[in-house]
Amino acid sequence: MASPKLQAEHIHTAFMRDGKSMPVLQDINLEVADGEFVCLLGPSGCGKSTLLSTMAGFLSPSSGEIKIDGQVVRGPDPRRIFVFQERGVFPWLTVEGNIAFGLFRLDEAERKKRVAHYVKMVGLEGFEKAYPAALSGGMKQRLEVARALAVNPDMLFLDEPFGALDSITRLTMRGELLRIWEAERKTIIFVTHDIDEAVQLSDRVVLLSARPATIQQIVHIDIPHPRDISSARYLELRDGIFKQIGLAHRL
């Protein structure tokens, strides 16, 4: 593997709760290649969102280091955008305003061009002047992805971005995300607790255990896109992960 885009080295994180230290992440070691699509998969509450926030620089680990392009991460950075679980679009800005939010360093003409390009890419033409309140859940999620892509980041962190959508919209959005990823080749780290979602989307699935999270297994998904989700290999990989997670949950 060429020099990795992201390295997590011996990440430990503990939160203080009621005066007691509660471990959340335990010795996480991971390398992600440039342009790779990696899913972090684990039961809810296992700490996968904590790991993602740490990678994005919103949280500092108790010990260990996250390196991106060989540099230790010390805070959030516009080169890597976090797409929030709880719909982080700004309700006081229009669709255009949201997409332009991070483009304040560009001149007017370039900004307009960028906004128009990403409005089109995520299929929000005709809604440029609409406020998020007038958009459906799926449109808001696409808007947030567009806002992230507009600043041309090298990396995207997505925290269960489609969790709140209905199942049909969710499937469409997965297709959209893959299309965008294939077009722009960003490095994507995607948190989910949905096994199918992980196997449909990613190059590798990182299986996390229940809290405190440790990396249980890393599964390579060696199926080319577009993936046939009824193929034998798909089902084999999916069932393998099911089994692995089932073991982790054995009482």
């Binding site: 994005a56 919103f58 805070g75 959030p76 950075d77 516009p78 955008i81 976090f82 929030f84 709880e86 719909r87 982080g88 700004f90 309700p91 006081w92 800005l93 939010f101 991070g102 304040f104 406020y131 998020p132 309140a133 600043v151």
Partner: protein, 250 residues
């Protein structure tokens, strides 16, 4: 159209009931609406009504504007800064429950009988609700908005201007609307004691100068109507499209 007329119809019916009940009552319990209307006309004729309305509005405006100018920035800073919150919170919690009316003697001691005392009381009545609204508004901003602002590389000043400020505006406007109502309540009480003009003074004066209850009720009606107009004015702020986002969401 008929639906819109319903509240008006109800008022007309109540006025009729009022007129009938009072005229049949054995003792003098209230002036009739007709007498109140005549009283209002009398006040208008003498130019007193306009003068008193302007005096009251003048005091409320100053008290309210001063409170907005001081309480909102202070509240935003306290809400933004945990240490400031810890330092100021106990003091605010002690001062807040003291009715502005309890300050009347001190207001007169400091400012004498006159506009300044009344304005000071209105200011006090508006200051604490606005301060608390601003503090809460900042503390209620969802962390995801602030994180998103930081993620896109905004400087701290830009986070304040482009995220914090727009995020708190809707709550601030609601707070200002409620607070202006409080100011309008306080002005009447303040004018009963601390000044010699205004609608509150009119009410006390009408009673003292010969039990003119027609003028007392006329004053009350005017206070109600102006209060309604102030509220409608503030509500129209909420309708501004760029400020309306939190009211129309989901």
């Amino acid at each position: 159209m008929i639906v819109r007329l319903r509240p008006l119809a109800l008022i007309v019916v109540l006025l009729l009931l009022w007129q009938i009940t009072v005229s049949r009552a054995p003792a003098h319990i209230l002036p009739t609406p007709w007498a109140v209307a005549i009283g209002m006309g009398e006040l208008l004729q003498h130019g007193l009504l306009l003068k008193y309305v302007v005096a009251s509005l003048f005091r409320v405006t100053w008290g309210f504007v001063l409170a907005v100018v001081l309480a909102v920035p202070l509240g935003l800073v306290i809400g933004w800064n945990r240490r400031a919150d810890m330092a100021f919170n106990p003091l605010i919690q002690v001062l807040r429950p003291i009715s502005p009316l309890a300050w009347i003697p001190i207001a007169i001691l400091w400012f004498g009988v006159g506009d300044l005392a009344a304005i000071f009381l209105i200011f006090l009545g508006c200051f604490f609700p606005l301060l608390l609204t601003s503090i809460n508004a900042v503390q209620n901003i969802p962390a995801v908005y602030l994180n998103a602002g930081r993620n896109f590389g905004l400087s701290p000043a830009a986070v304040v201007a482009r995220v914090l400020f727009p995020a708190v505006i809707p709550q601030l406007i609601v707070g200002m609307r409620i607070t202006l109502g409080v100011g309008w309540l306080v002005v009447v009480a303040a004018e009963m004691i601390a000044v010699n003009s205004g609608l509150g003074f009119l009410i006390v004066d009408a009673r003292n100068a010969g039990d003119r209850y027609d003028l007392v009720v006329a004053g009350m009606v005017i206070i109600g109507l102006i209060g309604l107009m102030l509220d409608i004015g503030m509500r129209s702020l909420q309708q501004l499209k760029s400020l309306r986002w939190s009211y129309s969401e989901d």
